[in-house]
Amino acid sequence: MTRKHWNLPQFSMRFAHIWRRNLLVWRKLAIPSMLGNLADPLLYLFGLGYGLGRMLDDVGGMSYIGFLAAGIVCSSTMMSASFEAMYSAFSRMHVQKTWEAILNAPLTLDDVMLGELVWAASKSFLSGTAVLIVATALGLVPSPLAIAVVPLIFLTGLAFAGLGLIMTALSPSYDFFMYYFTLCVTPMMLLCGVFFPLTELPPAAQAFAQMLPLTHAVGLARPLVNGEVPPSWPLHIAVLAVYAVGSFYIALALTRRRLLQ
């Protein structure tokens, strides 16, 4: 890495063309894609919520499925942003050479990366929001304050899209992404309060979990769904924002090193 790779990004509005391109591809497969994105989180929600929920009286003062709903909204956002920023972006960068063609036009790598970041966050926004809507339809969302979860989903998507783009910048092949899923995504699913309250973890694990972005997404989404604004909300927003901006900056520097030789 040289200092030039770390130059501050210079964006143009042309990043929107990248976003639009990806939207056009998505539209061709929108229905199967949405169903695919919804099936997995809803299986967790119903399978665990009803199955496991029958054995539990209440969790954190609510039904287990009600507890689970906000967690699944956040985890499905994480999953969807990660997949898009890794497998799909890697296809466009490395396999199809779509970025290479775009860079011959008057766009810069900074534009391409911003377009991909916002696109991955947008796609995960659709997944997270769809789960939230289904949960609302099932009566699992008691408070109208849940509307504040909608922008939170987008911010969460940005944070995980940025992290995914770091992996993409480093990846020699699709197989590489399994490390990230095994070492980062799955532990976050289990440690960040999606399935059970953080307080059930040993103190060291709790402290570790506080450093992970998903903890802060769930930590804010769950109270909001139940009509409370937690006093720690600025911290949650700040952590997610730092993850989004920081990871994107690192991803950009690594991608510049990879492609602008």
């Binding site: 063309h17 056009l24 199809q96 050479k97 779509t98 290479e100 775009i102 036009a105 008057p106």
Partner: protein, 306 residues
């Protein structure tokens, strides 16, 4: 437009680690010409194109593309450049028509204007009947033609072509050449890299032969042949050829080169050679005029480049 050179590069250098790939290049394109950058694999041709597009920064030297300093204003320069890359990178998620539309948007051209241009571009590429076909269903030649049409979406003044006919069959290659001549007639400037000397001879008004990051010869193809090489070539084939060259051929020719069992005899007067070969009737031979390829091989050597 001004009469200034569409592209000038001076003192261009670029290293990767300890390996200097471009070592002090100077060249300038004239408006409306096809300029060929020739060289064996690894000569630095593609790196030179990337430098001129502002996709990589030179270690030193200056580039002015369409009156814009590159890389500082590469984005503005690329607005009026078309690029045909070495490897197809058409968008496989889209049809032919969508590929052109999406690519046009990257230049901020309004959809309406792009749609108005598409029929002409499809006509140019000979793909009018396949406008809604997916990319995967196209032959190699069709993909290249579409890539060329895509490079014209912004009506560029300057077009970069990186080995545009590599991997094509002769029919497809001739179609591409005909299209490129067509573009020259329209007054476009072309920068072509190739290692097909025939392609360079047919299309280029001037060529620069590159090796190891340097330009080692530059000029019109005919002039380079006159300047660097004897005008007539007799190629002699077969297992007896090296022995013949040793005992008879070498004495009758100005310069002899050997590749395996083929002897290349370069000379101003081929008559004695041919008389000798005819008298022996055991040896096969071919008499022809010297070509750019002979110049290229003389200057860059006959060893393999990997």
């Amino acid at each position: 437009m001004s009469a200034a050179a569409p592209l000038t590069a001076t003192g261009l250098r670029k290293s990767y680690g300890a390996n200097e790939v471009v070592c002090g290049l100077d060249f300038a394109l004239q408006r409306g010409e096809c300029f060929g950058l020739l060289g064996p694999n690894g000569a630095g041709k593609t790196t030179t194109l990337r430098l001129c597009l502002g996709l990589t920064d030179p270690d030193s030297g200056t580039i002015t593309t369409l009156a814009k300093p590159v890389p500082a204003q590469a984005r503005e320069a690329r607005q009026r450049i078309g690029v045909v890359p070495q490897f197809d990178n058409l968008d496989p998620d889209f049809t032919i028509r969508e590929n052109l539309l999406i690519f046009g948007r990257y230049f901020d051209i309004p959809d309406q204007q792009i749609r108005a241009r598409i029929p002409d571009l499809l006509e140019f590429a000979g793909l009018s009947a396949r406008a809604d076909a997916r990319i995967q269903t196209l032959s190699g030649g069709m993909k290249r033609r579409l890539t060329l049409a895509r490079a014209l979406i912004n009506d560029p003044e300057l077009i970069f072509l990186d080995e545009p006919t590599t991997g094509l069959d002769p029919q497809a290659r001739h179609v591409i050449w005909e299209r490129l001549r067509n573009l020259l007639k329209q007054g476009k400037t072309l920068l072509l890299t190739t290692h097909f000397m025939e392609e360079a001879e047919r299309l280029c008004s001037r060529v620069a032969i590159m090796d190891h990051g340097r330009i080692i010869a530059e000029g019109a193809p005919d002039a380079l042949i006159v300047q660097h090489i004897e005008p007539q070539v007799v190629e002699v084939y077969g297992e007896d050829a090296p022995a013949w060259a040793e005992h008879h051929g070498r004495a009758m020719t100005e310069r002899c080169e050997t590749t395996g069992e083929t002897i290349f005899c370069y000379t101003h007067d081929p008559a004695p050679l041919i008389a000798d070969l005819d008298a022996r009737n055991g040896l096969r031979y071919l008499h022809r005029r010297a070509s750019l390829e002979d110049v290229f091989l003389k200057l860059t050597g006959r060893e393999l480049r990997d």
